[in-house]
Subunit: 202 residues, 2 copies
């Protein structure tokens, strides 16, 4: 086959893909807030949610983050998001991972405090995105009932997006969501003896 025939075939193949793509895009007409879940054991669940927060802020939209597990929060994200002033509300209301606290009553109490803040955010028309970080973990340990969570998410303002992160998402949560991504760990540098590093892990 000549180089020109190659080029022609390439053009034809790509034209076909473009036609499919265009048709697919045209068939989507609804605009509404999305309920998304990032789950799985791989890295990037919370990080992708914060990347989305960045995109929203770039569009002038207001965001609220509620962290259910992480507390005493001094991470790179916080420093960076301080630049956006009152467009960002960040609530780190956890008290560490459960194996740090070793006290179920306390874990439940801190989850209730975080949920109270989340519920307020889920009622606000001026908030474009609510990130409920590591909520799946709180649900998994039965710190809070999924029915309560799903009822508040369902009743939120029509255009509000809500992003829930954390491994082991419950089936009921997956069923209720519009978009679910599972982050799968294929390979991890900890195995090679590399430690958690500033800017990467925190």
């Amino acid at each position: 086959m000549t180089a020109t025939a190659d080029e022609d075939r390439y053009r034809e193949k790509m034209a076909h893909r473009k036609a499919i793509q265009d048709e697919e895009v045209a068939s989507k007409t609804e605009e509404r807030g999305l309920f998304a879940v990032h789950t799985g054991t791989g890295k990037g669940k919370s990080t992708a949610a914060f990347g989305l927060a960045l995109r929203m802020l770039g569009r002038g939209k207001r965001i609220v983050v509620v962290q259910f597990i992480k507390g005493a929060w001094d991470t790179g994200e916080r420093h960076a998001l301080e630049r956006f002033g009152d467009m960002v509300e960040w609530h780190a209301l956890g008290e560490g991972f459960t194996w740090e606290t070793q006290d179920r009553t306390r874990d439940i109490a801190s989850c209730e405090r975080a949920w109270a803040v989340a519920e307020l955010a889920l009622k606000r028309e001026d908030v474009a995105l609510v990130i409920l970080d590591e909520l799946n973990i709180a649900l998994r340990y039965d710190y809070i009932a999924p029915e309560r969570v799903l009822a508040s998410i369902a009743a939120r303002p029509k255009m509000q997006h809500v992003w829930v992160t954390g491994r082991n998402a419950k089936q009921a949560v997956i069923e209720a969501a519009d978009l679910v991504t599972e982050m799968t760990l294929v390979k991890h540098h900890f195995k090679a003896g590399v430690k958690a590093q500033e800017g990467v892990e925190f």
Copy 2:
């Protein structure tokens, strides 16, 4: 079993987990730049890389982003990252997805331009993170040879992190990387007729 016995068991289980966790963390001693890959057909590959950029910026570290496919770039991320001034260098050097351009020669030329910029970044000691966005797609279509890419990544400054995104990561890339996360699509709102929305998809 009494409530107290329940509490005790919980405490014991969590103490056990904490011990394992602590031991694991203590065994990691090396500090060096990581080479990570986000692949898979799910959402969040680029978004998680931008979330990491945010974390790096919060730690006062300099980043360079080279986009191999996306061009004519006016997304939420750009607007948001403008706030960080010269700590961020963003090069959107693609000319759209290949089914948009339908011209292989042009696709290869634009990939070469992007790679030239990437190579410069991969030599800079002052750059903490280089994001090579959608490079996997350029590799997949043979716009650039993986050997060239992997040699430059291997020769970069010791503390520099490099993040490569895009579906269909080549096996050679996966083997060379320290950290590989596959984003798997479990459920997508496009199926429900919801269109791409500002702040979410762009």
